[in-house]
């Protein structure tokens, strides 16, 4: 499901296997367990996390098929992703998403929960699919979108045209930090970026606290009881 590797001061978290890396409770638990491992590592406050994935997908979002078969899993999927994102926001180290494939909906959110997004430009896109598939967008997703995508026009394009954002378009919109020729090159660039950050050498705990203040609004909505847009009460909506 996911693997954790240490390369010097870099933690490499990889969503393994050729599938869509759908964020179901099992995968979310595996990722959170890896994050816990990272936190408890003694060198963690002098390290960097790189998150990446095998295959065509970074992550294609929540496991909607699973939620359809078993609606009781909707709540835990949302709750576990919230916890994971809260973990990433408070993580005492810089975080880099090396986006080596498609990142849709909750998968896009996972990528955006990192401080840097590096992406391949030869394939793959970032995609908030909800408009196209008639899904509600959770309020906490919107809080992250508002904080991470600075231009109102870009936010509109992402949310209201369900644009399939390529790396180069992502660069233009200020969502992607750098674009690279292939998956391997993207990971290499992430490693290089990570090494550079480690060399600068700041205290990860301070870093994490500053990040929390920047993303305070997101942390606030993460902790709220809303499961979708404000005023939601309709359980007819499915994840």
């Amino acid at each position: 499901m996911c693997s954790l590797e240490k390369r010097g001061r870099l933690f490499l978290l990889k969503l393994t296997g050729e599938g869509e890396h759908r964020l179901n409770p099992t995968l979310l638990d595996a990722i959170r367990s890896a994050i816990n491992q990272i936190r408890s590592d003694p060198s963690s406050s002098q390290s960097v996390l790189i998150t990446t994935a095998d295959g065509k997908f970074f992550s294609n979002g929540y496991d909607l098929a699973l939620a359809e078969r078993d609606p009781s899993l909707r709540f835990p999927m949302d709750a576990k992703l919230r916890s994971l994102v809260a973990d990433l926001i408070s993580l005492p180290m810089p975080t880099i998403a090396a986006v080596t494939g498609h990142a849709s909906a909750a998968g896009f959110i996972l990528a955006m929960s990192h401080d840097y997004i590096l992406m391949r430009r030869d394939r793959g896109f970032l995609y908030m699919s909800e408009l196209d598939i008639n899904l509600p967008v959770p309020a906490w997703f919107m809080a992250l979108i508002r904080v991470k995508i600075g231009s109102p026009a870009a936010r509109r394009d992402v949310m209201l045209t369900a644009e399939k954002v390529t790396a180069d378009r992502g660069l233009e919109m200020g969502i992607v930090d750098s674009a690279h020729g292939s998956a391997a090159e993207t990971i290499e660039a992430a490693v290089k970026l990570g090494d550079g950050i480690v060399r600068v050498g700041f205290d990860g705990h301070v870093y994490g606290r500053i990040r929390e203040t920047l993303l305070r609004e997101v942390l606030h909505t993460l902790g709220s009881n809303e499961s979708a847009s404000t005023g939601v009460r309709n359980s007819g909506s499915k994840l």
Binding site: V137, A139, L160, A162, S229, G231, G236
Partner: protein, 240 residues
């Protein structure tokens, strides 16, 4: 005053006649009624395009009507009335279950610019027409929902300053550069209308659910929606 026309999937709302298309209680009521009509006739794939005839998109509130009250307090009351009456127009546009495009044939000032900003996309002419927030020049303060709109739709502090604090009449190219409008590429009113119709048809082809669209739109602007009393409500069964 204003008309609503249907062209395939597109609703065309036009402020008619060659005047300044200023907003007073009567014109506001007409616009609201047409927006209501569009909403009730909307289907998947509907799109609204708002435009006007002549030199002006809209020059804002009908200050002459306010002054005709005959006294300072009377004028202030009438102005306040228009500020309150216009709020539902902005709310109706933010709530409209379809993509919205403002096609600026000419000048858009103050409340007229607010009307434009209430749309998802704004196209303006390159050769003619300015955007102008006149309040700083004529000594009027800004209603809370006007400022909230500027904060919601205009991203950089430089652009907000240029718009609200400089008393500048901003032409197409600069407006596009500041990110206030999406396009100022066309040299004629017809060019702009054509471009907005093309965009409208592209958006219509996506056949989005209007309820979902409006809900996501409102969640983009929580502060503004809060001031307007618009709550995002939940809806629809997913396609899955």
């Amino acid at each position: 005053m204003c008309t609503l026309e249907k062209r395939g999937d597109l609703f065309l709302l036009t402020l008619t006649g060659d005047g300044e298309h200023r907003f007073n209680p009567d014109t506001i009521a007409s616009i609201l009624s047409l927006l209501d009509q569009a909403k009730s006739q909307s289907t998947r794939g509907s799109v609204l395009i708002t435009t006007a005839h002549g030199k002006f998109f809209s020059n804002g509130f009908d200050l002459a009507w306010a002054l005709a009250a005959g006294s300072k307090t009377g004028a202030a009351e009438r102005l306040h009335q228009m500020v309150e009456l216009f709020k539902p127009v902005v709310a109706a546009l933010l709530d409209l279950p379809m993509p919205t495009i403002a096609s600026l044939n000419g000048h858009a000032a103050a409340a007229g610019l607010m009307l434009a900003l209430s749309h998802d996309y704004i196209f303006m002419r390159k050769d003619r027409g300015v955007l102008y927030m006149s309040e700083v020049d004529i000594g009027l303060s800004m209603p809370d929902y006007f400022s909230a709109m500027v904060r919601a739709k205009i991203g950089t502090s430089a652009a907000r300053r240029e718009l609200l604090l400089s008393g500048k009449k901003i032409r197409g190219e600069e407006a596009a550069g500041l990110g206030i409008v999406d396009s100022a590429a066309h040299d004629s009113a017809e060019g702009v209308v054509e471009a907005t119709v093309r965009l409208g048809e592209k958006l219509a082809a996506r056949k989005w659910s209007g309820e979902v669209y409006a809900s996501i739109r409102k969640s983009l602007y929580p502060e503004l929606c809060g001031i307007l009393g618009l709550e995002a409500t939940i809806f629809a069964n997913p396609k899955l």
